[in-house]
């Protein structure tokens, strides 16, 4: 730690987790290649990437299930230690429960393994069972539960010991939309209560509404990381959607074409509604707005922000070799 500046120390203090050039090989296959990440405290951090990119390997290293060949991991300001596992909650992608055990008994066992006392675990379990409306499942056997029901138990067991860092690997797989929403709300609430969350997925749509920060993992390397809003800003390409009421749409299109780069357009003569998509050379929309307001009544005007999925595909394509 001596080599870091004071500024560096502060950066470490603001991050719940920092990895420095973490590398992991399986035989000749490199699963992680010099991964350096900073995961800020009290945020939801999206770890994105296609299957096989190395997300699960990285998560297992954070959970000390496997160990890196080289590189360092810092947790809450100091090097990651074995006892830190009680401060981390992990919901793996490959998750299950003992089939022949009773739900309550099993939840108690898993909670006690995380270091909770039996009484404390019982108290908190009662709270969570009520909260997710599964109070009457305590004496059921796991094999009687549906997959979605089992997922609820797994979620509770993951968060029960109130860890500082929660790691969810594909948390919504196996949930119906109602329960997925329920869990999503719980995740947001946990974050509001001060928990830092790593959220790993290859399904981009769930990222938009949850994550403040993202890192894109592709072929064992980080190809993009940072604040989602800033990334989006950097990736937008001045495309605007325009709608206005005008008497003759075809004439307007003819007049506009030489001046602006029109990507697509559509005119509805009955409603007298003209819609088009335009790419501008800069982000300055003043000129076109002034031009259009003279031609008709502008009723729609907004800039297209790329989705995480667009950014992901665009970035991966620019790196080549994405099938």
């Amino acid at each position: 730690m001596i080599q870091f500046s004071i500024f560096g120390e502060i950066a470490y203090m603001n991050n719940i987790l920092v990895t420095k050039e973490v590398t992991k090989q399986f035989g000749n296959y490199t699963a992680l290649n010099k991964i350096s990440l900073e995961i800020p405290k009290n945020s939801i951090y999206g770890l994105l990437g296609p299957n096989g990119a190395g997300k699960t390997t990285l998560i297992r290293i954070i959970n000390q299930i496997t160990f890196p060949d080289s590189g360092e991991v810092f947790f809450d300001g100091s090097a990651l230690l074995p006892q830190d596992i009680s401060l981390i909650g992990y919901l793996p992608e490959e998750r299950g429960l003992y089939k022949s055990m009773k739900v309550g008994e099993q939840a108690l066992y898993l909670a006690q393994l995380k270091g909770l006392s039996k009484d404390e675990a019982k108290k908190r379990l009662k709270f969570w069972f009520e909260r997710l409306e599964i109070g009457d499942w305590w004496n059921k056997k796991v094999q009687e539960l549906s997959k979605g029901m089992a997922q609820k138990i797994q979620f509770i067991v993951t968060v029960l010991h109130e860890p500082k860092l929660l790691i969810f690997d594909e948390p919504f797989s196996g949930f119906d939309p109602i329960n997925a929403n329920l869990i999503k709300d719980e995740i947001i609430r946990l974050k509001e209560n001060g928990t830092s969350i790593i959220f790993s997925t290859h399904r981009m749509e769930s990222v938009e509404e949850l994550c403040e920060y993202i890192a894109l993992l592709h072929q064992s390397e980080i190809i993009l990381d940072g604040k989602l809003s800033e990334i989006k800003k950097a990736y937008k390409n001045n495309i605007f959607n325009i709608g206005l009421e005008v008497g003759d749409g075809d004439l307007l299109l003819k007049e506009m074409s030489p001046k602006f780069n029109i990507i697509s357009s559509k005119y509805d003569p009955i409603e007298k509604q003209f819609d088009c998509t335009v790419q501008l050379p800069t982000n300055d929309s003043g000129e076109i707005l002034a031009y259009l307001s003279k031609r008709g009544n502008v009723n729609e005007f907004f800039e297209t922000i790329p989705s995480a999925n667009d950014i992901f595909i665009q970035t991966v394509k620019s790196k080549g070799s994405y099938e």
């Binding site: 399986f26 035989g27 297992r60 959970n63 299930i65 496997t66 160990f67 074995p82 596992i85 009680s86 981390i88 992990y90 793996p92 490959e94 998750r95 299950g96 429960l97 003992y98 089939k99 022949s100 055990m101 066992y109 898993l110 006690q112 393994l113 995380k114 039996k118 797994q154 067991v157």
Partner: protein, 446 residues
């Protein structure tokens, strides 16, 4: 509560609450005792069958020789023709007809005698008949030679050489075999325990893999803790089961034998031995009585406490070595069908130990093969226990061999558990892949 203790408790409860485990625990003794009782009962019924044999004796000999006993009854014909005798034997449904013709000379009478029966006669019937002829012929021949029956009986006495140790203690024949048999019993117990409960450990690991709970667990505890807890928990369940088996089988045996009226000595064949140990000493042949007492004394002098102490040492170390190998196998594969090829090399040394033990140690408890196998760590838990009833030190297992054997076992134990834990740790997270040897080697370095 300590995490290891938590895991042990869960594994133990999961095992003993398992329905098939409970069924096996209580059904096995019933099945086993039932089988023994059935065999004993059938043997008894078989013995009770009485065969009726008709005799047509036209000679002057054998008039008082064929007497009915519990296995055979004799019906004597007189003054009818052979053909008539045959017909009536057949129509009455008797077992057979013994025909003794009228000749002057005993040799000729015997030579021309016939046994007629519907099917080929049983050898026990023939033996009985032949014995009677043999006796008569022998008496006659001795008479011809002028030797009295008493003199002949003296001639027939078997000779046994007296044996003794250099210290003047009497040696007992077969005592080594008896001792090795006792040790073999302990060894066999270890083998059975390893095969049964090692398999349980392996299946339990596979179950955690297929139910996908494994990653949840090892994000809370170290894989080694989980493996150790699993092995200990399963073995405690096994000890519970064994204890129930032994106690309930013993009780059932007593009850069953008293109900069916079977004398246990018929089965064990060691009536004298058991009653000698019990100190009862009922009607035994007087000079055998003394020998039996010596045997009993020898058995009392086996250092039982020492033996049980070492049994525990070898049992614990041997079981831990093998069950951690079983755990590693369970971790390396995806389902039980893939385990066969890995299990065979594990069972091989166990089998070897038992067979080498029974064939070699019985004959020569301190010979080179017995010594070698009782030092080799994968066989020593079984073979050394077969040698130990002979005592330690002079006349028994040399103390250096015992120490070397245990030290080797401990070193192997540490090595194997370390290797198995490494393979286990990596294997439990591998799905759908069969690792190459290079990968296995790489696993060890993770």
């Amino acid at each position: 509560m300590n995490k290891l203790a938590l895991i042990i408790k869960r594994e133990y409860l999961a095992k003993v609450r398992n329905k098939s485990f409970v069924v096996m625990t209580f059904l096995s003794p019933i099945l086993m005792v039932g089988m023994i009782v059935l065999i004993a009962y059938l043997t008894k019924i078989n013995d009770n069958e009485q065969r009726v044999i008709t005799i047509l004796n036209e000679s002057d000999y054998f008039s008082n020789d064929f007497n009915s006993n519990e296995n055979m009854a004799f019906v004597k014909f007189k003054g009818i023709s052979l053909q008539k005798a045959k017909d009536s034997t057949l129509s009455l449904g008797y077992y057979g007809l013994l025909y003794i013709p009228d000749e002057k000379d005993l040799e000729k009478v015997a030579g021309r005698s016939f046994f007629f029966s519907k099917d080929a006669p049983s050898s026990s019937v023939l033996d009985k008949l032949e014995d009677t002829f043999q006796d008569r012929l022998q008496q006659r021949r001795l008479q011809d030679l002028g030797v009295s029956a008493k003199d002949f009986a003296l001639m027939d006495n078997q000779f046994e050489i007296n044996t003794s140790t250099f210290n003047g203690e009497q040696n007992l024949k077969g005592i080594n075999e008896i001792k090795a048999f006792i040790g073999g019993g302990f060894g066999y117990l270890i083998m059975m325990f390893i095969i049964i409960y090692g398999g349980f450990v392996m299946r339990s690991v596979i179950e955690e893999k297929t139910s996908r709970i494994i990653e949840v667990i090892i994000s809370s505890v170290k894989p080694f803790q989980l493996m150790l807890g699993k092995i200990i928990g399963t073995s405690l369940a096994g000890i519970t089961q064994f204890a129930i088996w032994i106690v309930s089988a013993g009780l059932l045996m007593l009850v069953a034998f008293s109900i069916f009226g079977i004398d246990p000595s018929v089965m064990s064949g060691s009536h004298g031995m058991s009653s000698a140990i019990g100190g009862g000493m009922p009607a035994m042949v007087p000079n055998a009585n003394q020998t039996m007492q010596l045997y009993a004394q020898e058995l009392f002098e086996i250092p039982w406490l020492m033996l049980i102490g070492f049994f525990i040492v070898y049992f614990v170390l041997g079981y831990l070595i093998y069950s951690s190998i079983y755990a590693a196998i369970g971790a390396a594969v995806d389902n039980e069908t893939d385990t066969q090829q890995f299990i065979f090399p594990v069972i091989l040394p166990l089998m070897l130990a038992i067979y080498v033990g029974f064939f070699s140690v019985f004959n020569n408890p301190h010979g080179p093969i017995a010594v070698g196998f009782s030092l080799f760590p994968l066989t020593s838990p079984i073979v050394m226990l077969m040698r130990l009833p002979g005592g330690i030190g002079e006349g028994g297992v040399p103390i250096w061999q015992l120490i070397t054997s245990i030290l080797l076992l401990i070193v192997t134990f540490i090595g194997i558990v370390w290797l198995a834990a490494k393979i286990y740790r990596v294997g439990i997270l591998m799905y759908g892949k069969k690792p190459s040897y290079k990968e296995l080697y790489k696993w060890l370095k993770y």
